[in-house]
């Protein structure tokens, strides 16, 4: 096999995800309306977040409810650094002076925020990754609640449960795309690395992995930290897309939605993570438009307000029932002959 | 008692059984042997109702049963000891046995049967209140067989009874199968190795790649050559014609 051929093979699953995304971004950027463009940006940010979530959840098989925590940490950190110079001394009087009285340029502040999210994930993981299975999941849920309680009542720094409003909104479609690309590449490099292989083994069988000399703790801690960084990036993007940061946006419903996207797509593969986001976003947007009303043959037609949520819930259930392992069923998009072999049709 | 005609079954696109014919008469002990992946377990799963056949008919005691749910078949007197034991790991040994006896209405006889299997497998008595999941591999296998005996079926299907059993215990199991058969139980047994089966079997089927490669009375196959040929496929063509 030629070298470049091997490289192409290695990167093909990533290309198969990224190229269609790029096409979507280019098309909507050129031809889409405001609402569609914003939906696409939201989708790309969700990809960053869900891919970040996937790095841990998908590879380790442990559901984490705690990742919104790291997003919140990054988003708030970014808000403290970049938001509303005039308002900060009043509403966030508890901030240390170097933050309270000045703004920090966007790029360094984003990097610092992401580092903070990753660091928080590392520290959390240091404690929690001794746990496995359900205990680990529940403890991440506890972390989510703890952060929520702390941030919604630490009034002088976080403005409590009120939104911090007025962050610079610099997130464009192409920036979001670039970040999604980065997240996907990071996830791919990780999952194909030795660390990725090791943690996938622990997902399949913890006992056999231990017998193979794999440390459950360290492999999970690495994944947890890395995914903390990536969702931190997602948090920063979301903050600077909406222009507002609110702790309530990083709580249960958000967590459930992100997990739902991951699992609908199939949590066992990177392609699944992305597919889940794309499919769920599309369905939501479609029914949102139907609810707002479309013109059919001259007349206005719409579904009753509030039915959108019902339909989306039913839709997700149907996907889960008919594709138990999600849309991609844990597989990456490989080159044709590759998928053939992987499916194991050639029987021994 | 059991009549299987042209039954096919599979997993998704993979067809594991291809038009299999097989009959078991009342009181017979029929063995099914064959290499890994031949479809032996699939055959038992299909008969017991765990899988629906994609074609063909299955009749038990003269009534067609294809497509009936396993709980109904169980009530008709068909028991299966599936591959991989399938004991209830979180239940105690006692509860595992109780569950099997629950469908029986003859309580006294069930209690007597329970004593009988505990005598047959004394290790189960000593682990009676222990959790079944903690048993050793062979002990679990014994529990699975004991449970099927307790069901007091008309016909018992066992998938690889000797799996994980010590040689001595295999002897006991085969001995008790012989006794049960003598008491009127019909048996359909899947085995991996042909070494032990000849003196218990009434008839033997060799399954290969989802086909019946050879079928015959045990005494006809006693020299073992035809059996081995069919088994390993040296003369697959010839055997199929036979």
């Amino acid at each position: 096999m030629m070298k470049s051929d091997a490289v192409f093979h290695f990167w093909f699953p990533v290309l198969a995800i990224v190229v269609p995304l790029a096409v979507i971004v280019a098309l909507t950027d050129q031809f889409g309306g405001l609402s569609l463009q914003r939906t696409v940006i939201e989708m790309l940010i969700s990809i960053v977040i869900v891919v970040g979530l996937y790095i841990f959840v998908g590879n380790s098989g442990i559901i984490s409810f705690g990742h919104a925590t790291f997003m919140a940490i990054a988003a708030y950190a970014s808000a403290w650094q970049t938001c509303c110079e005039m308002l900060k001394p009043i509403t966030m009087s508890g901030l240390p002076p170097f933050l309270r009285d000045q703004s920090i340029p966007l790029l360094p502040s984003a990097l610092v925020s992401i580092l903070l999210a990753g660091g928080a994930a590392f520290l959390t993981g240091l404690v929690l990754m001794r746990l496995t299975g359900l205990a680990a999941s529940i403890s991440t849920l506890a972390v989510l609640f703890i952060l929520n309680v702390v941030y919604s009542n630490w009034d002088s720094v976080t403005m409590g449960s009120a939104s911090i409003v007025g962050l610079p909104t610099y997130v464009t479609a192409w920036l979001a795309f670039g970040c999604a690309l980065l997240a996907i590449v990071v996830a791919w490099l990780y999952q194909t690395s030795a660390f990725g292989l090791a943690i996938r083994a622990t997902r399949e069988d913890e006992v056999a992995a231990a017998a193979s000399g794999i440390s459950l703790y360290w492999s999970r801690l690495i994944a947890f930290t890395l995914s903390g960084f990536v969702v931190g990036l997602g948090g920063v993007l979301q903050a600077h897309f909406l222009g507002t940061v609110s702790i309530n946006n990083f709580f249960l419903s958000f967590t459930f939605l992100a997990l739902a996207m991951l699992i609908v797509g199939g949590m066992g593969s990177l392609a699944g993570a992305v597919a889940g986001v794309v499919v769920v976003t599309t369905i939501v947007d479609l029914f949102r438009r139907l609810e707002a009303g479309i013109s059919v043959g001259g007349g206005q037609w719409s579904i009753p307000a509030g039915t959108q949520e019902l339909i989306i819930a039913a839709f997700m259930l149907l996907i889960l029932i008919f594709r138990k392992n999600g849309i991609m069923a844990g597989r990456e998009i490989g080159l044709p002959q590759h998928t053939h072999r992987e499916k194991g049709l050639v029987h021994g | 008692m059991l009549e299987i005609r042209g039954v096919s079954a599979g997993y998704g696109r993979l067809e594991a059984l291809k038009s299999v014919d097989l009959t078991v008469a009342k009181g017979e002990v029929v063995f099914v042997v064959g290499p890994n992946g031949a479809g032996k377990s699939t055959l038992l799963k299909t008969v017991s109702g765990l899988m629906a056949p994609s074609a063909g008919t299955i009749a038990f005691n003269g009534e067609t049963i294809a497509g009936e749910p396993p709980e109904r078949l169980c009530c008709r007197g068909l028991a299966l000891v599936p591959e991989g034991r399938s004991i209830f790991r979180t239940l105690t040994v006692e509860e595992n046995l109780s569950v099997a006896a629950m469908i029986r209405s003859d309580r006294d006889a069930a209690a007597a049967d329970r004593e009988r299997v505990l005598d047959l497998f004394p290790i189960l008595r000593s682990r009676y209140h222990g959790v079944a999941g903690h048993l050793s591999g062979g002990e679990q296998q014994q529990l699975a067989i004991a449970r099927a005996i307790l069901q007091r079926p008309l016909m018992m299907m066992i998938d690889e009874p000797s799996l994980g059993l010590a040689p001595l215990v295999i002897d006991q199991v085969y001995e008790s199968l012989r006794q049960l058969n003598a008491d009127g139980l019909t048996l359909l047994v899947v085995e991996q190795s042909t070494a032990r089966i000849l003196d218990l079997a009434s008839r033997i089927y060799v399954l290969r790649n989802g086909h019946v490669a050879l079928e015959g009375a045990a005494c006809d196959l006693a020299d073992g050559h035809a059996l081995e040929e069919a088994y390993f496929g040296y003369g697959a063509g010839r055997a199929a014609q036979a």
Binding site: S35, T39, M86, G160, S161, V165, L242, T244, E291 | -
Partner: protein, 375 residues
Amino acid sequence: EDPIKIGFAIAESGWLSNYDSAPFKAAVMKIEEINKAGGLLGRQIEYSVMDTKTEQARAATVGAQLVDGGVDMLVVSCDYDFGAPSALAAKQAGKIAFSLCAADPKMGVQGVGPLAFTANSAAQSEGIAIAEYAQKKMNLKTVYVLEDLLIEYNKSACAGFRAGWAAGGGEESILGNDTFKNDDPSIASQITRLKGLATQPDAVFICSVTPGGASAVRQLRAAGIDLPILASTAMVDNYWLNAVPGLKDFYLPAFMSLYGDDPRPEMNAFLESHKARYGEPPVSSYSVLGYSLIEQWAYAVEQAKTTESEAVVAVMNGFKDQPFTAGPTSFTDQLHIQVDRPWLIMKVENDSFRAVEVYRNSFKPDMKLLFRVGQ
């Protein structure tokens, strides 16, 4: 001539829709009245509505879409958190954003920006008003404060209450503070603490909203605590009174009475026209704020003779006790929220709210209190 366009970026679904819908209907009513009377600056007013679905991201998107569609003014959700994203979109296009009933001063100059207004009073003002009323008119000397941590509105109302009470009766007359969460199934330990006080207070102030507030009142009464209960405006509606049949001695400040006993004739007139237009009284007294919102803006436009934001804002910033249906209204170039508009004090009697009297607070919250700095 081209019509004037008003956009509504409000919640038509999700929990916030319950708060947005009543003032929205009243706002529409006012627009219709203006149109019937010949329009504004001789132009008819057109309005369009888009649903934020009670999501911040949606709120930002529909705000941008409405502004993109060329509205002259954007009406945004009742709540600061969900109104602000739309208001920011308006700000970027240089348009006025007017919140139906945000009670947070950040929906204004220091938060969203100089083009943002809200039709409501600051939550602190409610707390101050009921505190002063209780001291001066009800002659209560000591109080115990129960704070629901669910939303900032509660915290602000409590902050206002404490400041107002301390101003009149001294810090020490607040015998204690306790907190609870709106969704706590039980406040038994809070009750135990209250009952364990060395001296029982003269009243309890609860800054909360339904359902948690209603549940707290029920549990207080069930525990045999018959003290007067003071509360904030959000608890004004009758519907939760089922939870505490026979409730007595319950007071709060409100915008207006929906039951025809408001001492102010303009409120009753509003009530009548609402019944005429929709066949029923408003479901919530917040309704009048939406009506008054359009009234205030239209008045400013008329004065400015243009819909240009800067000119209109200049007029509005000059309002000083300008009489509108909702009450005297003041804005300055620093404050785009009311801090001492008179309140209608109401109490519960025969399982319904009854108007008592109109009360205007004398203690005005300063900026520190409004933004709860150092609280």
